[in-house]
Symmetry: C2
Subunit: 505 residues, 2 copies
Amino acid sequence: MAEEKEKTAANAGTQPDAAGPLPGASQMRDPDDASNALAQVQEIFDKLDDLPEYRKRKEAGEEESEAAPVTPEAAAELKAICDKLHPSDIAWVLEALPLDERLALWNYVKSDRDGEILIEVNDGVRETLIDAMDREELVDAVETLDTDEIADLVPDLPPDVTAEVQETLSLEERSQLRAAMSYPEDSVGSRMDFEMVSVREEATVAAVFAYLRRFEALPDHTDKVFVVDRRGHFKGVLLLAKILVSNPEDTVGKVMKKDTLTLSPLDDVSDAAQAFERYDLVSAAVVDEAGRLVGRLTVDEVVDVIREESEEDAYGAVGLDEDQDIFGSIWETARSRWLWLGVNLCTAMIASRVISAFDGTISKVVALASLMPIVAGMAGNSGNQTLTLLVRSIAMGQVTENNAPDVVKREVLASIINGLLCGVVTGLLVWFLYANSGMGVKLGIVMFLAMLLNILLGAIVGVAVPMLLKALGRDPAMGGSVLLTFITDSGGFLIFLSLATVFFR
Amino acid sequence: MAEEKEKTAANAGTQPDAAGPLPGASQMRDPDDASNALAQVQEIFDKLDDLPEYRKRKEAGEEESEAAPVTPEAAAELKAICDKLHPSDIAWVLEALPLDERLALWNYVKSDRDGEILIEVNDGVRETLIDAMDREELVDAVETLDTDEIADLVPDLPPDVTAEVQETLSLEERSQLRAAMSYPEDSVGSRMDFEMVSVREEATVAAVFAYLRRFEALPDHTDKVFVVDRRGHFKGVLLLAKILVSNPEDTVGKVMKKDTLTLSPLDDVSDAAQAFERYDLVSAAVVDEAGRLVGRLTVDEVVDVIREESEEDAYGAVGLDEDQDIFGSIWETARSRWLWLGVNLCTAMIASRVISAFDGTISKVVALASLMPIVAGMAGNSGNQTLTLLVRSIAMGQVTENNAPDVVKREVLASIINGLLCGVVTGLLVWFLYANSGMGVKLGIVMFLAMLLNILLGAIVGVAVPMLLKALGRDPAMGGSVLLTFITDSGGFLIFLSLATVFFR
C-alpha cells in the first residue's frame, strides 16, 4: 500500500526530502528585517566611500558597471549580514542598491542561495546579477531550484547554461520543465508547481499518516494532499487539518472533500487569483482536460500575481513597464520612456493643430486661449474617473453583456448631471471674469455648452474604450487613458472653439 | 496535560467546533462559478422584465429603491442558485446586480449565510443590504460571525443592533471585540483573528495529536499551531506538516520553529503584507509588547489587503473612493465625484489666469495659443512617470534617506536627456511648421527651451512631492498627480509664454 502511494507521489514529482529548514537564522523575524539590513549595508558602503583610496577608485570612472571595491573588514560584515537574512530579504536589499554596491554585495552571498535569490528579484535586477556571474556559477545556482522555478529563469539565462542544466535533470523533471514552459505567460500552467503530495482514494487515513512520515519535510504550502486514482485522475482533496482529526481506520475516499476548486493549466491566472481570494485558499489542484492531476497552484504565487497586476496597472497607466530598476543606468532609464513620450507628443501635436485651425477666432477673442484648457482638462478628469471605474469592474467580471447597457446609462446620466453643474459654475465664473469686456455673457454661454458637451464626450469615451478593448480581447487597462485624454483634449478644443466661432462671428 | 492545553486553546478563543463544512455544494468548483451564476440570475430577471405585469410595476416608479417583484417560479430558481453557491460567490453576484434585483436576490439567500455574505461584499453594497434588513434579521446574521468579523461590521450597523449582539457574547469574546475595534484601521490588530490553536512547549507531539483530535475541524488557515508558555507568552510555532512527520515522543519545544515572523498588533498591515509576500507565509502570530500571543494574521486577509491597496491606488489616482457601487444611485455616483472635479476646477482656473496674464503676447503671436498645451502636456506625462516610480519605490521601502540623493540625481539626469530630446524634436517640428510665417526660428527656440525646462520641472516635482509627503507622514500615493499636473500646466504656460514675451518683444 505505502509503496504504491510512494510511486504516486514520485509521479507527481515530489521527493520526500525536497524542502529543508532555512539556513543560518535562529532569531525571530520581524517585518523590518529587510529594511534594517538595508540600512546596515548602506552604512558599510558609506564608510567605504569615505576612505580616500576607495573614493579615488570610484571617481576614476569604472564606477557603475563593476562591483564596488570592498575592504576585508567590510566584506566580513556584508557576509555576516547576508548569512542571517532570508533569501527574499537579500533579494529586496539587492533591488534597493545602486549597481556597483549591488554587485559587491552579490559577491558575498553564499553560492548555495544564489538560485533562490535570482527567483525573487525583479527582472531588471535579475539581468544585472546574471550578467555578473560566470557560466559555472550560473549552472550551480540554477541546479538547486525546482523545475517550475527553473522554467521562470530560462528566458533570462544564456542558452548554453540552460542546456547544461537540462542535462542534469531526470527524464521526469525534463518533461515538467517542458510542460511549465509550454503554457502561455499569464496562464495557471506557467505559475503552477509540481511539489504536491498525492494519495489514493482506497487508502486508510492510517496509511496516509505512515506515508507522510516518510517525508523529511512536506513541501511548502501543503495544507492538503490530493487524492487520485490509479491512473492519476483527480478525485478530491484531503486537508492536513482533516487528517489530524479523522479516524485512522476511515478510508481517504470517505473523509476527502470533493467540492474543491480545480483549475485548468490554461485558465487565466488572474481569474484563478480571484477564485483564491473568494474561497480563501492556500493551494488548489491543477487538472488537465483528461482529468489528470498535473500540478498545484499555491497562495504565495497568487499573492505575487496580485502584486504584479497592481504594479502593471500603476506603471502601465504612465507607460512604464513593471520591471523598473530605480538604480539602472540613467541612459536606460531615459530610453525606457521614449515610446510613451513619443505617443503623447503625437496626440499633443494633433490637439495643437486643432487649435491652430481656429487662429482667426482666437486672434479676435484672445480670452479663448486662456479658457480652452479648462474645458479640455475638466472633461479629461471626469472621463478618467469613468474609465477607471469601468476598467476595474470589467476586470472583476462584474460588467457583463447583460448589464452593460445599464452601466452605460448610469455613467452617461451621472456625467450629464456633472456636466450641467460644471458648466453652470464655470459659465458663471467666466461671465463674472469678463463682465467688463462686454463679452461676458457670450463667453459664459460658450463655456457652459462646451463644458457640458465635452464632459459628456469624456464619459462616453470612458465607457466605450474599455468595453471595446474587452470586445477585441485586449486588456481594458492598457492605453485607455492616453486615448481618452487625446479625445477630451482635441474634442474639447474643437467644441469650445467651434462654438466660439459661431457666437463671435 | 491535554486538559491544560484545552484551556490554553480556549484562552486563545477557539472553540473546537468553530468551523464546519460548506453547506449545499457537492460538485467541484471552478473559477467561473460566480460568473455563470450571475448570467443565470440575469436571465431570470430578464425573463421577468418581459412579463407585462412586472414591466408595468417597474415602470410605475418604485423601481430602484425596492426589491424587484418576482414570480414564485423565479423565486424557486433564485433560491436554488443561491443554495449551490459559496457565500463569497453570492457576495460577488450581489455586487454585480442593480439595486432592485440585488435586493430581490438577497431575499432568497438562506438567512444563516447572511452574516458571511455581509462580510464579503464591499462597503457600498453592504450598506444597501443592511438597509433592507430589519433589526431581528441583522442580529441573527451578525451573531453567526466570529468576533473579528463582527468588529469589521460594527461601523455599518445601527447602534441598537451592535448593543444587542454584544449581549449575546461571552465575556472573553466581548474583550476580543473591544480589542479588535481599538486598533487603528490599517494596523495588524484590526485585521487579525482569534481563531488560533496554541500548545505548550513541554507537551509531547503525541499529546498535541490527542489534543487536535478533539477539534471537530481546525480553524481555516491553520498551517501551524502556536507555542506559548504558562502565562501566554509566545515561544515559537509548530507546523502541522512538522507534527505529521515528527517523532510522537519528542517535546514541542524540541521540534518547534523559533525563527518565525511575529507581528505586533500596531504594525502597519501593509508592511505585514509585504513580509507575508517575502516569506511566503500562510499565517503569523501577533504578539503584544509584553510578548503575549494575542491573535494571528492569515494569508486570506493579506490577499485582501493587497487587493484593497491596489484598488485604493487606482481609484485614489482619479479621486474616487474604493467602495464604488457601479449600480448605486445615479445621484450618488455624480455626487461622489464633486470633490475631485472641484479641486481640478480650481487648478485649471489658476492655470487659465496664468495664460490670461499673457493676453498681449498671444494676440501678437496667435500661434502661441496652439503650442502652449504641448509644453504643458509633455512635462505632465514625463513627470507622472517619475512620480509613479517614486511612489511605488517608497511604498516598497526601497528608497531610504541614504540612497534618496542618488535616486534624485538619476531621475533629474534622465529628465534632462529626455527634455533635450523632446525639446529638439518639437523645436524642429515647430520651426518647420511656422517656417513660412517668418517666426519659425524664434518659435522653435522658445519651444526647445520651454520643453527642456518644463520637463525638468516635472521631474523635480515628481521626485519632491512623494518624498515630501513621506517626510510629512502622509501616504505618498495621494494627490501627488493633481499637484504635479497643476505645476507642469501652470509652470509650462508660464515658462513658455514668458520666453515668448522676451523673444517677440
